[in-house]
């Protein structure tokens, strides 16, 4: 339960936690899974009332560490100190009672419940909900006015935008008396404007004495908002730094263990003929929602067209239609002078035959079959190609040889063809998909979220591969929610909001503010 008293009865005065601030220290935390050591003698100290960043590549042990702190895993060694006293965090309940709150990357909310009901969940107070509702509502009002966490307590979660849902998660934690708030990749789903809003809230929490631990892979955010930062690599903390005394380049180098190029060098684009033209594309989702409205654009050889937008504004559906997964309903698509009209048979097989490759947004559900071996995944979608088969049979040796070649060329690690792809890191999974699709020598590449959940080292590599492909004359449609990515790769950028293209700009002169405005639908002058 909570450390805060919930006053019962008619007493309307509600006590909010008074913070003197809590510091937390981890000493030599070790955690093993079988023979894998996820955390090895991890030590770090978070000062009371500060924002402390934790950065590291995927698989560096950040999540394991936070799950230990939140009581989900039991460490094999080491100890945790709260305000200087040793504590034993055996379960999430214990962790909550110690004042540790966690906001997960994927929200833990019941979509069909209201904000109030979600906050109450697990904290109902008594058999009848009435009384609890009243006290919690009062506390919520106080919390939200103190920290600027404005949200309508009576709306359903499913009606709220992601940014608001995140506020509910924060409120949930605060309501349970969190003095230490752990946020796991909180900005992944937010627009730049929402991110600014979140940071304002975090700063105001900090000023009121809440200690915040921010797990992120975005170095810019670390530089902007944290006081101190711990860098993890290979299950160990490799550096504890004051943010003022470091730089993104230094952090990146420590994370990866070698120098990393943060900016990419683009050659002059050699833009050729139009290869893909989309005219007045309209699409109705299965639920009857207009997900695409009069979308028109074209891409040329050797060009990267970036599609910017907050997730869920029609980009995924656009990719699905172009890749043949969804049927064309209204509008027309022209590929290399072949026109496709609604009603014509259109499927991923045909799309591949027209030399269009597709790196899907969700590589784990679509791009790969995780339990398959790497070499098997290296032909997914091309399993009927002659070069992989002899008659009815797949030619295992040919596939293995090709895998070895491409794994080498695209730096997929480990190179072993005979391990299942779910044992690869996110970055290597992505490299595997990308390698397969580029290997088919496409004229057009559709790619969604190329670097979602991918570590910095691999991102650098993926960008290089994409630019090389572009230089060889392939047209690339790049859908991403990462604005930096869109801006640094694209020759041209279109912005989508609620299924419409709301703006278009050249890649070279786009700014984050301008794109952010268009993404949120505020600016439609373009």
């Amino acid at each position: 339960m909570t450390t805060i008293e919930i006053n019962e009865g008619n007493d309307t005065s509600v006590s909010l936690p008074s913070f003197s601030g809590s510091s937390i220290e981890l000493k030599k935390i070790t955690k093993r899974f079988g023979h894998v050591i996820a955390n090895e003698e991890v030590s770090l100290k978070v000062e009371a009332g500060t924002i402390h960043g934790i950065v590291g590549e995927n698989g560096a042990g950040k999540s394991t560490l936070m799950n230990i702190l939140f009581g989900l895993y039991k460490p094999d060694g080491g100890s945790i100190y709260l305000d200087g006293n040793i504590v034993d965090v055996t379960s999430p309940e214990k962790s909550i009672s110690l004042g540790i709150g966690m906001v997960h990357q994927h929200f833990m909310l019941v979509p069909t419940f209201t904000v109030l009901e979600n906050v109450m969940l697990g904290n109902e107070g008594s058999f009848s909900l009435k009384k609890g509702e009243k006290t919690i509502l009062q506390r919520l009002q106080k919390l939200s006015s103190t920290y600027g966490l404005n949200v309508d307590f009576h709306s359903l979660i499913l009606d709220l935008p992601v940014g608001m849902q995140q506020r509910v998660e924060i409120l949930k934690a605060l309501n349970r008396g969190a003095k230490i708030l752990i946020l796991d990749e909180p900005t992944g789903v937010l627009t730049p404007q929402e991110t600014i809003g979140l940071f304002e809230i975090l700063n105001s929490l900090k000023n009121k004495g809440v200690t915040i631990i921010l797990i992120t892979h975005k170095l810019k955010e670390i530089m902007n908002i944290t006081e101190a930062v711990s860098v993890m690599r290979g299950g160990k903390v490799v550096a504890n730094l004051k943010t003022n005394n470091t730089s993104p380049a230094e952090l990146a180098e420590k994370m990866v263990g070698r120098k990393v190029l943060l900016s990419i060098e683009k050659k002059e684009s050699k833009i050729g003929n139009k290869v893909l033209t989309v005219k007045n594309l309209n699409h109705l989702s299965k639920d009857g929602v207009d997900v695409l409205k009069n979308v028109s654009f074209s891409i040329s050889e050797g060009e990267i067209l970036g599609v910017a937008g907050v997730a869920g504004n029609g980009q995924s559906e656009l990719l699905d239609i172009l890749s043949g997964i969804e049927q064309l309903q209204r509008g027309e698509i022209e590929i290399n002078q072949t026109r496709l009209l609604p009603g014509e048979k259109w499927d991923p097989k045909k799309v591949r035959e027209m030399s269009i490759a597709h790196v899907p947004e969700d590589r784990q559900k679509r791009g790969l079959i995780l339990p398959f071996y790497n070499y098997e995944n290296s032909i997914l979608g091309y399993q009927r190609k002659e070069r992989y088969s002899s008659g009815f049979l797949l030619d295992k040796n040919k596939i293995l040889n090709l895998f070895t070649e491409t794994a080498e060329q695209f730096d997929v690690r480990p190179r072993n063809p005979n391990i299942s792809s779910n044992k690869l890191s996110g970055g290597n999974q992505q490299k595997l998909v990308l390698a397969r699709e580029i290997e088919s020598q496409p004229k057009i590449l559709l790619i969604g979220q190329p670097t979602r959940g991918v570590d910095i080292g691999a991102i650098e590599r993926i960008y290089e591969d994409l630019l090389r492909l572009k230089d060889s004359g392939t047209a690339i449609l790049l859908v991403s929610v990462e604005l930096d990515e869109i801006m640094s790769l694209s020759d041209r950028i279109i912005v989508m909001n609620q299924g419409k293209i709301v703006g278009e700009t050249m890649g070279s002169n786009a700014t984050e503010i301008e794109l952010g405005k268009m993404m949120s639908g505020l600016d439609r002058t373009n």
Partner: protein, 370 residues
């Protein structure tokens, strides 16, 4: 993370199933003890009954043959994430295929040819009985579990009707066809041995067993070496990825159910061509259902299916002996032991993992840094 990932292969596919099996036998032993018999003696009787007495191995392998076909049928569907519960009905209708071919042709053409056509007939009729639910699933979204169960009932009623009213041997009461003519059928091994001058005990063990082994090998090729098998497994693991890969999902489902039904249909060749030499009511005797347990235990791999078929075959045969030897133990005891085996090696398959893992790492291996 699934913690079983950390154990070496020989432990996870060899040792742990073995421990589960021992546990099942141990609990069965307790039950036998409470019935008032000596569990060790009972086990001895079962083992002798399955492998030692004259002809017992033949009987065990004869049952094994049924389980291999039924197990492969279920396993193939599992690879496409389809739960084919209709093996029983498909086997039954497969029997109709055998019967019709033999009754129609055995008087007019070469009996060897008739036998071959009858084998094909069993597969084709079984396939047909699998395709209908497959088609309904693929095109209409009717759940395969429901439709295959219903098709078991339809098959049973259809066979009763046909055997009682249409293809019954005229002038008799028992719902059976006339015997197929001499020479039609799959030869029994003891007869084959006699032919070569070797004398072995009489049993229904026939060359269907070897057909089952060849089919098992074909199954392995099909699932792991062909383009079609690749697509089947893709579909089984992830339908969204299969669609992305341009795999025609409905077509694959229909084909898988055809082959699965065909495999189940082959149960009929062991029973009708190998033993009874006629089509009769209820010859499938639940083998199709046991195939589900066989496939589960055999982890949908032909080698595993062979081993679990052998185990179930031995249980069937040994169980008959158990019933015979002990007055207080009935044949139902075998069902209980089977149930416990399925419980421990299917439903509770991962129960022992944390325990074994702990022992393994504490006593055998020092964790190394990954």
């Amino acid at each position: 993370m699934n913690e079983s990932n950390f154990l070496p292969r020989w432990v996870s596919i060899g040792l742990i199933p073995f421990i589960n099996l021992l546990l099942a036998f141990f609990v069965s032993g307790i039950v036998i003890f409470f019935i008032g018999e000596n569990p060790l003696q009972a086990i001895l009787v079962m083992i002798k009954g399955a492998f030692y007495y004259p002809g017992s191995i033949g009987y065990t392998l004869y049952y094994t043959t049924n389980f291999i076909f039924a197990g492969l049928a279920v396993a193939l569907a599992f690879h496409a994430k389809l739960f084919n519960i209709g093996g029983e009905g498909q086997a039954y209708v497969g029997g109709l295929g055998v019967g019709l071919v033999c009754l129609a042709l055995d008087q007019s053409i070469n009996s060897f040819l008739v036998t071959i056509l009858a084998v094909c007939g069993s597969a084709i009729f079984g396939a047909f009985w699998g395709v209908i639910p497959g088609y309904l699933q693929a095109k209409r979204g009717s759940h395969i579990v429901i439709t295959t169960i219903m098709f078991n009932f339809i098959a049973a009623s259809l066979m009763v009707y046909l055997l009682v009213n249409v293809i019954i041997e005229p002038g008799q009461m028992s719902p059976e066809t006339r015997d197929f003519s001499e020479g039609v059928g799959l030869v029994q091994i003891h007869k084959l041995a006699n032919y070569f001058g070797i004398s072995i005990a009489v049993s229904p063990f026939n060359i269907s067993f070897f057909i089952a082994l060849i089919v098992s090998f074909g199954f392995w090729i099909l699932v792991w070496r062909t383009k079609f098998g690749y697509e089947v497994r893709s579909l089984g693991h992830s339908e969204t990825a299969a669609k992305y890969a341009g795999i025609d999902v409905s077509r694959t489902i229909v084909l898988v159910m055809a082959i699965s039904g065909g495999l189940a249909g082959l149960v009929a060749i062991n029973e009708l061509l190998g033993v009874h030499n006629k089509l009769l009511l209820g010859f499938t005797a639940g083998y199709g259902f046991t195939g589900i347990a066989v496939a589960l235990m055999g982890r949908n791999h032909p080698i595993g299916i062979f081993l679990s078929s052998l185990l179930f075959g031995a249980l069937y045969q040994g169980g008959t002996e158990l019933d015979f030897e002990f007055s207080s133990i009935t044949r139902e005891m075998v069902l209980l032991i089977q149930g416990l085996i399925i419980l421990f090696s299917g439903a509770l398959a991962y129960m022992m993992n944390p325990f074994v893992e702990k022992i393994y790492y504490n006593y055998f291996k020092e964790p190394k840094n990954a």
